[in-house]
């Protein structure tokens, strides 16, 4: 099974700070990690490869340093990584991003399954997976938290989670899935994997390499524009209720009454 896993390098929430005066992110000292959901997409791909053979290719669009995310994916067992990087890709919204990723996947040739995390933790849009599937002409299922492949090797059964429960779905590959964290527990890198990743060369594909129309990528290919950003201030809170357990509960009940909760 030839599998492509799309990953994104995102700021590590643990290290991001916010400047409420300026309404901006403080970029200094911010670590970069693989988007947490994407680890689960990669794990799903690696397990399918273990069971059915084939190859796992990881794909990422981003600045040159996103190559580190691809190397990390290689250390976990991916066969190859490709970085889509070009100044012209900057400022891409989901429409331009799906165009660029689709160009790359088409260039790879035969692909049986494309896997994405449910969403990236910086943008939180959850739109790249479905949009990419449309660009590739593939059926797709979002929010998958269980999957199995039937004996014919091409029919998949999937569990898609919604607000009230779940749906059991069936499709035939080729297809695209976006996955939840509850799908699996990602493996840790092996020593051998780390060594291999360190030595690996990550090919870099730019707009020309992809044969991408300049007007379809990055800011030029984006339909949406950001007009302003700001950091919301959560009002100074923190009233510690005092006294014994009974007294604290009593104080809370009176706060609830003031707020109209009781």
């Amino acid at each position: 099974m030839n599998i492509v896993v799309c990953i994104k390098q995102v700021p590590d929430a643990k290290t991001v700070r916010y400047d409420t005066e300026k309404g901006t992110l403080v970029r200094e000292g911010v670590g970069a990690i693989i988007n947490p959901f994407d680890f689960h997409a990669l794990e799903a791909g690696l397990r399918l490869k273990d069971a059915y053979g084939g190859e796992v290719t990881v794909l990422s669009m981003g600045p040159p340093q996103a190559g580190n995310a691809l190397k990390e994916a290689l250390s976990l067992g991916a066969d190859k990584g490709i970085l889509l990087s070009d100044r012209a890709f900057a400022g891409a919204d989901t429409l331009a991003t799906t165009y660029t990723l689709a160009k790359a996947i088409k260039k790879l040739g035969r692909v049986d399954l494309v896997l994405c995390g449910k969403q990236a933790i910086d943008g939180d849009t959850a739109q790249v997976g479905p949009g990419l599937a449309v660009r590739l002409g593939l059926p797709y299922v979002t929010c998958v938290n269980a999957l199995s492949v039937l004996d014919d090797g091409k029919t998949m059964h999937l569990r898609r989670v919604n607000e009230d429960g779940y749906d059991m779905l069936e499709l035939e590959i080729p297809a695209l899935l976006t996955v939840l964290a509850s799908l699996n527990t990602p493996r840790l890198p092996s020593l051998k994997g780390k060594m291999r990743a360190r030595k690996a060369e990550i090919p870099l594909w730019d707009a020309r390499e992809l044969g991408a129309e300049p007007g379809m990528v990055g800011l030029a290919g984006s339909a949406t524009q950001v007009v302003s950003t700001w950091v919301p201030t959560f009002e100074a809170r923190r009233e510690m209720l005092e006294g014994s357990a009974e007294e604290q509960v009593e104080a809370l009940v009176s706060r609830f009454k003031e707020a109209g909760i009781l």
Binding site: A13, A90, P130, M168, S228
Partner: protein, 398 residues
């Protein structure tokens, strides 16, 4: 790329102040751009008092003839025979926007044997309802729902399409936007219009709610957004409202799909779902054992709310993964959030810090959850919750 006209630049630093990404700064009294950090958002261009900044953009997507697109659409969502609350919330917001844009509100209702819901949509603010009632729509598939909506939008040309940011909406609305090659803003928490160019101002959180951004789709139509449930107040339905109901027969070519629904399972959940709940009682590691989670359920029931979980409570098998709140779970913003036995790891906090009132109960007075709490109680949940439950019962009884 972003260009600085060094003749015009006075080095005043307004651009540096305005940049979210620290991508532009003043050095030797002139603005310098770090092109790798720059996301080309253009905010500094507007902030520059000298007009010294310019975004140089390749000839972009073909601009659409904007004036031929008219009206606001609300995509109605019907789950288990009931209209999703977010649909009614969107109708209320659309009426407000339609007033400012001097246009009409149309609801699009898709499903099977759902016709009776058209009236309800009109009572809640729709001027017109497109009803697509077909057996193939009895179960939701992204392809069929998406194809029908995209096809209808191509023919009817609405200027705005709004849908709920529900599991269903966030799955198939991106399909529609990609087919229509237009912009889509996910999970909005605020909507407004800019009168001069009829732009829909779409405000949404990013970075787990730590950053808010207002986004427009100025050169393309329709302008599309999914909107988070529970951020807008629905109107009181007016049974006297009149509207037009138009039946649409979907073309056969739109009805084929490659994903088959084998089974739809509604899991036994008490009370409202997480994204629509006014009150959430979240159970964390502090409950120690599965049987103690019953206390959280009891309190949630008393307050008309529902139960949420931390990653730890899900990993322990006490609660199902669908109830997990935080970075790899659901983001919530109820009126009252009760974090019980929750330490407050950043991955949890990003999923709940937008809540109106946050109550934290934890044994450890130094737990980070208290930094975001409106009210903090230091103590064991196994002691505090029974007291609180008893006290509320007494209050209700009196």
């Amino acid at each position: 790329m972003l260009k600085v006209d060094t003749e015009k630049c006075t080095g005043c630093g307004e651009c540096e102040e305005s940049c979210t990404f620290e991508a532009i700064f003043v050095e030797d009294e002139v603005a310098v751009v770090n092109q790798d950090a720059c996301t080309l958002c253009g905010i500094c261009v507007d902030a520059c008092p000298e007009g010294a900044l310019e975004l140089h953009v390749e000839e972009g997507l073909l601009a659409t003839d904007l004036s031929s697109w008219k009206g606001i659409w609300v995509v109605a969502e019907c789950r288990n025979g009931v209209l999703a609350p977010v649909t009614l919330e969107l109708l209320a917001k659309s009426r407000e926007l339609a007033g400012e844009l001097d246009t009409e509100v149309t609801a699009v209702l898709m499903g099977y044997e759902i016709e009776s819901k058209a009236k309800e949509l009109i009572f809640n603010g729709a001027d017109r309802v497109f009803v697509v009632d077909h057996p193939e729509l009895a179960t939701f598939t992204d392809e069929v729902y998406g194809n029908i909506l995209a096809d209808l939008a191509k023919k009817e040309k609405p200027e705005i399409i709004l849908a709920g940011a529900t599991a269903m909406g966030r799955s198939y609305i991106p399909r529609v936007a990609t087919i229509l090659e237009t912009g889509l803003t996910a999970d909005c928490t605020g909507l407004d219009v800019r009168a001069e160019d009829r732009a829909l101002l779409q405000t949404r959180p990013a970075f787990g709610g730590n950053l808010l951004a207002t986004i427009v789709c100025s050169g393309h139509r329709p302008q599309m957004a999914t909107v988070r449930p529970h951020v807008i107040r629905a109107n009181i339905p007016d049974p006297g409202r009149k509207g037009e109901v138009i039946h649409i027969l979907p073309g056969e070519d739109l009805l084929s799909h490659r994903v088959q629904v084998l089974e739809s399972v509604k899991e036994q959940v008490e009370g409202p779902n997480l994204s629509e709940a006014d009150v959430i009682v979240t159970a964390g590691r502090g409950f120690e054992q599965e049987k103690n989670v019953e206390l959280a359920r009891e309190l949630a029931d008393l307050l008309g709310g529902t139960v949420g979980a931390t990653r730890a409570a899900v990993d322990a098998g006490w609660l199902c993964d669908r109830t997990q709140i935080g970075q790899t779970g659901v983001t919530v913003s109820p009126k009252l959030y009760m974090a019980c036995g929750v330490s407050g790891a950043i991955q949890h906090i990003v999923g709940m810090q937008g809540s109106e009132i946050i109550v934290a109960i934890n044994k450890d007075a130094e737990a980070p959850i208290f930094d975001v709490a409106t009210y903090g109680l230091v103590g064991d949940v196994k002691e505090i919750l029974p007291l609180l439950i008893h006290r509320i019962q007494k209050e209700r009884g009196s």
